[in-house]
C-alpha cells in the first residue's frame, strides 16, 4: 500500500441527504455528513438507531436516496470513492476449509483459489498482513483464528486496494480489553500514516472519547448531534440517548444498598 507520511487533508467525502426506507418505515432520514482524510469518525447510538443501515447505504448494499461525493478540495475535481469495509463478522463456521490466503485472494484476485496458490498474490497478501503483524497467519484456517487475529486479517483486506474511506462495523465485539486498546492504536496509526478517512461504528464510549476526532450520534434514524468528543458527550442529546433510564437508576440504587449493607 502506498504510504503517505501525512494525510493531505484535502480529500473530502460528503454525504448529502442520505435516506433509507423499507416500505413505510423510515430507517435513515436525511443524513448529511462531511469527512476529511486523516480523521477518525465514530458513529455511536443505541441498537436500532440506524448505524448498520447507514454503513450499508454507504456501500450501496441497499437502495437509498441521496448521494455521496468524493472531492479533492484543492482543485475541486471529483474522484471515484474507494471504500475498504470491515464487517462485524463473517460466515465461516468451525471446520470450514478456508485459509487466510483463500479468504483474501477470493476478494482480491482472479487466480482461482481452488486450483493453485498464486505466488504473486501470496506475496502481496503477506505484505499487507505484515502491516498489522499478521503475516504468520496466512496459511492458518480462518475458523481457528481468535477474534483479534481475524480482525487484523479483515483490516488487511480492507486496506489492500488503497481505499479513501475505511468503514468498520462494530469490529470490536469478541475482543478483550488489551485487544481493544491495540485496535484503537491501530486506527490511530492508520489515520496518521495513510491517506484515508475512517468511519467506525462503536459501542465502547470510553475508547471513542479517547481516540475519535469526530463523533456522530445517531438516534431514531437521524443525526441527533455531531461534533468533537466534547461537544457531543456533553450535549443534552447524548444524555437523552445514553443517560440512565429510571429502571437503571433503580438497579444502581439497589446495588448500593447491598454493598452498603443497608437493607430496606
Amino acid at each position: 500500500m502506498r504510504k503517505i507520511i501525512e494525510p493531505c487533508g484535502f480529500h473530502c467525502i460528503k454525504m448529502n441527504h442520505l435516506g433509507v426506507r423499507f416500505g413505510d418505515q423510515v430507517i435513515l432520514d436525511d443524513v448529511n455528513l462531511h469527512f476529511h482524510c486523516g480523521s477518525l469518525n465514530a458513529i455511536i447510538g443505541k441498537n436500532g438507531a440506524g448505524k448498520s443501515t447507514f454503513i450499508r447505504a454507504i456501500l450501496d448494499d441497499i437502495p437509498h436516496t441521496g448521494e455521496i461525493e468524493f472531492k479533492d478540495t484543492k482543485d475541486g475535481h471529483m474522484q471515484k470513492l474507494k471504500i475498504g469495509y470491515v464487517p462485524q463478522s463473517i460466515n465461516i463456521e468451525k471446520n470450514t476449509p478456508v485459509s487466510v490466503y483463500d479468504l483474501i485472494a477470493s476478494y482480491e484476485s482472479n487466480a482461482p483459489v481452488f486450483l493453485h496458490k498464486s505466488k504473486k498474490v501470496y506475496e502481496k497478501i503477506k505484505n499487507t498482513l505484515a502491516v498489522f503483524e499478521a503475516e504468520d497467519l496466512i496459511d492458518k484456517q480462518v475458523c481457528n483464528l481468535s477474534g483479534g487475529q481475524l480482525q487484523r486479517v479483515l483490516l488487511s483486506m480492507a486496506i489492500m486496494d488503497e481505499p479513501n474511506l475505511l468503514l468498520l462495523d462494530e469490529p470490536v465485539s469478541g475482543i478483550d480489553q488489551n485487544g481493544m486498546e491495540l485496535f484503537f492504536q491501530t486506527m490511530d496509526y492508520l489515520k496518521k500514516n495513510y491517506d484515508l478517512a475512517i468511519i467506525l461504528i462503536s459501542h465502547d464510549l470510553d475508547y471513542v472519547a479517547k481516540y475519535a476526532d469526530k463523533v456522530i450520534l445517531l438516534d431514531h434514524a437521524t443525526i441527533a448531534k455531531q461534533g468533537t468528543v466534547k461537544e457531543v458527550f456533553q450535549s443534552p442529546e447524548f444524555d437523552h440517548v445514553f443517560g440512565m433510564s429510571s429502571e437503571e437508576k433503580w438497579i444502581r440504587e439497589g446495588e448500593k444498598n447491598e454493598s452498603g449493607n443497608i437493607l430496606v
Binding site: 464487517p87 460466515n91 483463500d102 481452488f114
Partner: protein, 271 residues
C-alpha cells in the same frame, strides 16, 4: 481375466462408465460450494422438481422431457433464489413450501389415469439406460462448469463468506448467486435419470462433506472431494454390476462409508 472385463463388451456398460467418469467429478466440484453455502436443502428441492418438470412437459406435449425438466428446474432455482433473498421468512421454510407444492403438482399430473409406474424408475434411477446423446449433454455441461468454476469460483466464495463485503469489492452478488443456482439445476437435471431423485442429493453432499473433515484449505477441499466422488462412482458402478444392485444406491453407500471414515479419522489426519 475375460470374466473381469466382460462388462466392457456391453455398450450400455461403456456408456455408464463414461457417464460416471464425467459427472462424479462435477458433483465433487459443485458439492464444495453447496456445502459451504448450506444449500443442501436447496439442491434436494431441485431434484424433486424433476417430477414437475416432466409433468409440465407432458401437459404441453413436449417430445423430449429432458428439455422441459431442465427449463422448469432453472426457473424453479431462480424463483427460490429470488424469494430467499427477500428475507421475509426463513429460507428453509420457503424452499420446503415451494418444493412440496411442486412435487405434489408433478405427482398429481403423472399419476393421472394410474400411469405413475411408468415414471417410478426416476426415483432410484437407472445408470444403464443412459444414451449416447445424453453423454453428449454431460460433456457439454462438464466443459461449461469447469469454465464457470475457473473464472467464477473466487467471486462465489467471496459472496458465500460475506455478501456486503463482496459487494464492497464490486462482486456482482445476485448474478453469481443466480449463475450458481442455474448450474446446480443443469447438473442435477442432466444426471437425475440415471442417479435417481432419492439419492442425487447424497451424491452432491457426501464427497464434499467428507473432504471438509480432512482438509484445511480450498485446494485440498476440492481435490479430496473430487477424488472421493470419482472413487465412489467407479467402485459403486463395478460393485453394482457384479452384485446386481441398483448403481445409484451403491455409489451412495460407498460415499457414506468414506464420510464416516473421514469423520472419525479427520482430526488425526489434519494433525
Amino acid at each position: 481375466m475375460s470374466q473381469v472385463t466382460s462388462w466392457f463388451d456391453y455398450n450400455f456398460m461403456r456408456n455408464a462408465l463414461i457417464a460416471v467418469i464425467i459427472i462424479t467429478p462435477l458433483f465433487g466440484l459443485m458439492g464444495t460450494m453447496i456445502v459451504n453455502k448450506k444449500m443442501a436443502f436447496f439442491s434436494d428441492a431441485l431434484g424433486h422438481s424433476a417430477l414437475t418438470g416432466i409433468a409440465v412437459g407432458i401437459v404441453f406435449g413436449v417430445q423430449d422431457t429432458t428439455i422441459s425438466m431442465v427449463v422448469f428446474a432453472i426457473l424453479f432455482a431462480l424463483l427460490l433464489n429470488k424469494i430467499g433473498s427477500r428475507n421475509t421468512a426463513s429460507t428453509d421454510t420457503i424452499i420446503s413450501v415451494f418444493s412440496s407444492c411442486s412435487v405434489a403438482i408433478g405427482l398429481a399430473i403423472l399419476s393421472k389415469g394410474g400411469n405413475f409406474s411408468k415414471y417410478s424408475s426416476l426415483l432410484v434411477g437407472d445408470v444403464l439406460s443412459i444414451t449416447t446423446r445424453e453423454i453428449v449433454y454431460l460433456v457439454l455441461i462438464f466443459i461449461a462448469t469447469v469454465i464457470f468454476w475457473v473464472f467464477g469460483f473466487n467471486k462465489l466464495n467471496a459472496v458465500c463468506i460475506h455478501r456486503t463485503l463482496a459487494k464492497s469489492k464490486r462482486v456482482p452478488v445476485s448474478l453469481m448467486d443466480n449463475l450458481f443456482a442455474v448450474f446446480v439445476a443443469l447438473i442435477v437435471m442432466l444426471s437425475i435419470k440415471w442417479v435417481g431423485i432419492m439419492i442425487i442429493n447424497a451424491l452432491l453432499i457426501l464427497p464434499a462433506a467428507s473432504s471438509r473433515n480432512i482438509s484445511v484449505n480450498m485446494r485440498e477441499y476440492h481435490l479430496y472431494s473430487i477424488i472421493f466422488s470419482l472413487f465412489s462412482g467407479l467402485v459403486g458402478l463395478f460393485v453394482s454390476y457384479y452384485t446386481n444392485v441398483a448403481t445409484g444406491p451403491m455409489i451412495v453407500i460407498i460415499a457414506s462409508v468414506i464420510f464416516f471414515l473421514t469423520y472419525f479419522l479427520g482430526n488425526k489426519i489434519k494433525e
